[in-house]
């Protein structure tokens, strides 16, 4: 088995990060998404959000300890890892300057069949982002497959 199923339930500590415009720029630049709502305070300031907000997939930029969780706890060989599915729920917008707390937990693990790769291992992580007032901002589950050697 290319995954340690005892990793089920393992989680990272809460990690604090201050969101910067530079982080948002980096994501927008590689996606070639030049929507001024993510990049320009003047335009975004006139929108319903009242300022710049992060793009919908910004949660992928929060991964403190995630590699440690995947490598040390799940014992996954990264080249065998495939991203399967991601579900994101939004509660409040994320803005530059926000102080955010995030953590990642392995909430499911096992074996399942894949059309392309046959039976393989999988694990699901839950990523939570909250603000300093303990309010939920964004939460996501990510399903990963790990191919057999």
């Amino acid at each position: 088995m290319p995954i340690n199923f005892n990793a089920l339930g393992a989680e990272t500590p809460w990690s604090e990060v201050t969101v910067t415009q530079r982080q948002i720029d980096s994501l927008c630049s590689c996606l070639e998404d030049y929507n001024p709502l993510f990049l320009d305070e003047e335009t975004a300031g006139t929108s319903a959000n009242g300022g710049v907000t992060a793009p919908p997939t910004f949660i992928n930029c929060f991964r403190d300890y995630k590699t440690a969780l995947v490598l040390s706890e799940a014992e996954v060989e990264l080249p065998l890892l495939l991203h399967g599915e991601q579900v994101i729920h939004y509660y409040k917008p994320i803005k530059p300057g926000d102080t955010i707390w995030h953590k990642i937990k392995i909430v499911d693990a096992g074996r399942k069949a894949s059309k392309t790769y046959g039976e393989l291992s999988f694990f699901t992580v839950l990523i939570k982002l909250k603000n300093s007032d303990d309010e939920r901002l964004v939460e996501a589950t990510q399903l990963f497959f790990v191919r057999d050697k």
């Binding site: 982080q23 720029d25 980096s26 994501l27 927008c28 630049s29 590689c30 996606l31 070639e32 998404d33 030049y34 929507n35 001024p36 709502l37 990049l39 320009d40 003047e42 335009t43 006139t46 929108s47 319903a48 959000n49 793009p55 919908p56 997939t57 992928n60 930029c61 991964r63 995630k66 590699t67 060989e77 990264l78 080249p79 065998l80 890892l81 495939l82 991203h83 399967g84 599915e85 991601q86 579900v87 994101i88 729920h89 939004y90 917008p93």
Partner: protein, 180 residues
Amino acid sequence: MNDYNDRLAAPTDQIVPPKLEGPYFEDVQVGFELTLKKPPITRLQIAKFAGASGDFNPSHVDEDIARDVGKMGGVFAHGMIGMGFIGQMLTDWLWDRPLRMFSTRALLIVRPGDSITCFGKVTRKWVEDEDNLVEFEVGARNQKGELTHSGKAIALLPHRPVRIRDKLKLPYLVQHRVIG
């Protein structure tokens, strides 16, 4: 040119013109469609995504490991890049209207040189508690027409404020204060 275009060296043909506001609930009907065609994915784009996300899995950035250890025939794009493209299609149209949920399933590997076209279609609109919600089926196809991503998104759209149309403001209704 806005300074962010200089900051990110945005190609002039990809600059998104500002909108005054996003769409209203009553303007959207089931069957309404969105699409976004992206330029071919480059290795530089994949490397930049690795930097932006912190995901340096060698499957995406190291040709030798992706080919010899991963047995994937070479590097391929992060599944989240495709999701990012679909998100771009949604937010280009939604503008400042918020997403409530967004999901994608990565179905097929996307390699450098592949051209992705995103699509979305309204499949349902309904009111839940005080929220007006619109559901999209979303996805992406490569240049061969093969489905690379599939998913769903739910957005929250306001209705325009209620107002009495001028032609309904008949004198007798105003006089009798039926219309306030």
